[in-house]
């Protein structure tokens, strides 16, 4: 049985639905991300698990025990907030020891636990500082230590990196994951950053408008999105409207061309309107041998994004982005040039046309 179970969890605010009938099972020791745009219900879900919001319907079970009606301070769930939320009147050590202090643990035990955690977050020297004397990244590490000090059965992180700058975000992200692995603590991580979710998680839960769109490993979510929403939120996909020509052979028509997608499209008949998704990194410029498909168009923009170069090509009505790895020998076309590009069947994803 799963360690954390959400059963039909629903939250309505007046007439608007914040979270709708969310079912989720998280295994012990698993790192699961809730990913979605703002307002998708991911933070509300987290806050219901922490006990700051009371669900309108549904249950929350931890270790088989129903905690839905329990007060936040009876749940033994650690939480890290977006804006750190360190107590400004306490030193770093007092912040970390706060949970043990209110649980009336002996002072010696608190001291030992605090120094253990300071070591874990590599801030041994900072125990006597006050939060306002620390950088944002340091504050968030202290917040993590504070949440872990009470040995919670579950760790919740609510966009913990979004207030930090890019470099710190990356290093702290790796640190969080390392600490989580080391402690083996079941973790739920809320973020709107798909890169963060994909790189950190054992499994990703993509949410939209209060509902779960898809649950799966980062690999599944990225390579086999179930819906238009997931595909576009998780990657930089090219989405083209298409019409099914031959479902058994996997042939569709898009941008005025016949395109070979994966054969054996299930549940789709000839003439259906669908969405064809193409991953920019699987499209290759000026190469068609060994490729199943081949398109031509005119270069509209070229953008350097560091390690990759993104070229946008106009193919009839559609604007299609191609990603090329950057290298000094790259032979780039000029804007306005006519170019051709090829891609294998596997680069095509067929999504239902409604999204």
């Amino acid at each position: 049985m799963a360690f954390l179970e959400l059963v039909g969890l629903t939250k309505t605010f007046g007439a608007t639905v914040g979270v709708e009938a969310v079912d989720l099972a998280v295994e012990r020791g698993e790192f699961v991300s809730l990913l979605g745009p703002s307002g998708c219900g991911k933070t509300t879900t987290l806050r219901m698990i922490a006990g700051f919001e009371q669900p309108t319907a549904g249950r929350i079970l931890v270790g088989g025990e129903d905690i839905t009606a329990r007060r936040p301070n009876q749940r033994n769930i650690g939480m890290v907030f977006q804006a750190y939320a360190l107590f400004p009147n306490m030193t770093v050590a007092d912040n970390i020891g706060f949970g043990l202090k209110v649980a009336r643990r002996p002072a010696a035990e608190i001291r030992a636990r605090v120094s253990e955690l300071l070591a874990l977050i590599k801030l041994e020297e900072m125990g006597d500082r006050y939060p306002h004397q620390l950088s944002g990244g340091q504050q968030q590490r202290v917040a993590l230590a504070r949440a872990l000090a009470i040995r919670p059965q579950l760790l919740l992180l609510d966009e913990p990196l979004s207030a930090l700058d890019a470099k710190i975000r990356l290093s702290l992200r790796n640190e969080i994951r390392a600490i989580q692995r080391q402690l083996g603590i079941t973790t739920l991580y809320v973020t709107h950053d798909q890169e963060e979710a994909l790189s950190l998680s054992d499994r990703v839960v993509v949410m939209n408008r209060g509902r779960i769109e898809q649950v799966g490993s980062p690999f599944e979510i990225y390579n086999f999105p179930h819906s238009h929403f997931v595909a576009s939120f998780v990657g930089t996909l090219n989405i083209l409207p298409a019409e099914v020509v031959d479902p058994d052979a996997g042939i569709v028509r898009a941008a005025g061309q016949r395109i070979a997608a994966a054969p054996g499209l299930p549940g789709i008949a000839a003439g259906d309107r669908v969405m064809l998704a193409l991953r920019p990194e699987l499209l290759t410029l000026n190469r068609s041998e060994g490729m199943d498909n081949h398109l031509e168009g005119e270069v509209e923009t070229i953008a350097f994004l560091g390690s990759i170069v993104r070229i946008q090509v106009r193919v009839q009505d559609a604007l299609i982005a191609l990603d090329e790895f950057n290298n000094p020998n790259l032979d780039l076309p000029a804007i306005g040039d006519s170019v051709a590009f090829g891609f294998p069947r596997e680069a095509c994803l067929i999504l239902d046309g409604s999204g």
Partner: protein
């Protein structure tokens, strides 16, 4: 050329500083010097020593008591009202109304305030009569008198607690929801949250504002005069009488009295700003 520019810069603020010297510092100096002068114009500490006679010590003691009671009482009451309006889960309109009313009430002082309380708690005041006729409680028989310590304190509270509301509101706004949630998440009860987190964060502002209220009551003259007509032995009243005619029969003593008052006020304002800066540092950078 640079020196001319610097000179020009200073010219812009000269009128202000001249005014301050002429109408703040020069009069203050005059009092200060007067406090250390005898009738012949020589230096003396006799006026300062004379402050310690029972009559004047009594006046200081009464003024301090009124200021302390109204600062602490008005402070706590104002805090509870502001807390209820800002963090008590009430509709937003309540807060707007409270802020406006507090702005008016904290400025509604002096003679009209005294009249209002005479109409309320005087011998034939509405509340006095109401308590007597409806509840059978004659507060004047029970030792209450509007023109004495408690009456004066109740009157001062009318401008003290709204002032607390105005000054403490920003500090309450700075009390972040996440702190409460983090505390509760870590297992703290509501009482523990208040004891370890909210109160320590608010304490400097609370104490600082109470000190300000203390000074505010300590220097109040018009309300006390309007209420008691000068019969109550308060320091501002004594100074007022000394200004109207040398009732102490020693001008130097009057100056010393004023000097003592300025010292009390200066200490309270200094303590206020020190405590205020302490909190704002937490709240501004404690994010």
């Amino acid at each position: 050329m640079p020196s001319r520019r610097v000179l020009g810069d200073w010219l812009g603020v000269v009128p202000f500083f001249l005014f301050a010297v002429a109408f703040i510092f020069w009069p203050a100096m005059a009092l200060f010097v007067g406090a250390f002068r005898d009738a012949q114009g020589g230096f003396t500490l006799a006026n300062i020593v004379a402050l310690f006679q029972p009559f004047i010590l009594d006046a200081y003691w009464l003024t301090i008591r009124v200021s302390l009671v109204t600062a602490v009482g008005g402070g706590i009451f104002g805090f509870l009202v502001a807390y209820a309006a800002i963090l008590g889960g009430l509709p937003r309109g309540v807060r707007t109304a409270l802020t406006t009313f507090s702005g008016v009430a904290s400025n509604f002082a002096g003679i009209p305030l005294a009249f209002a309380f005479i109409a309320t708690l005087g011998r034939v005041g509405m509340v006095t009569v109401l308590l007597r006729d409806v509840f059978g409680l004659n507060i004047y028989d029970r030792g209450f008198n509007l023109y004495s310590f408690w009456g004066l304190s109740l009157t001062y509270m009318y401008f003290q607690f709204p002032l607390m509301v105005l000054i403490i509101s920003p500090a309450l706004d700075g009390l972040r929801r996440e702190w409460r949630e983090a505390a509760s998440n870590l297992g703290a009860s509501n009482v523990q949250y208040w004891r370890y987190v909210a109160l320590p964060i608010l304490l400097p502002s609370l104490l600082g504002t109470m000190i300000l209220l203390f000074g505010n009551a300590f220097g109040a003259y018009a309300t006390a005069y309007g209420l008691t007509g000068g019969s109550l032995n308060l320091i501002p009243i004594l100074i007022g009488q000394q200004v109207r005619g040398d009732v102490l029969h020693n001008p130097g003593l009057g100056y010393a009295l004023a000097l003592g008052m300025v010292v009390v006020m200066a200490v309270s304002i200094a303590a206020f700003s020190w405590l205020q800066s302490r909190t704002s540092r937490w709240i501004r950078r404690g994010a």
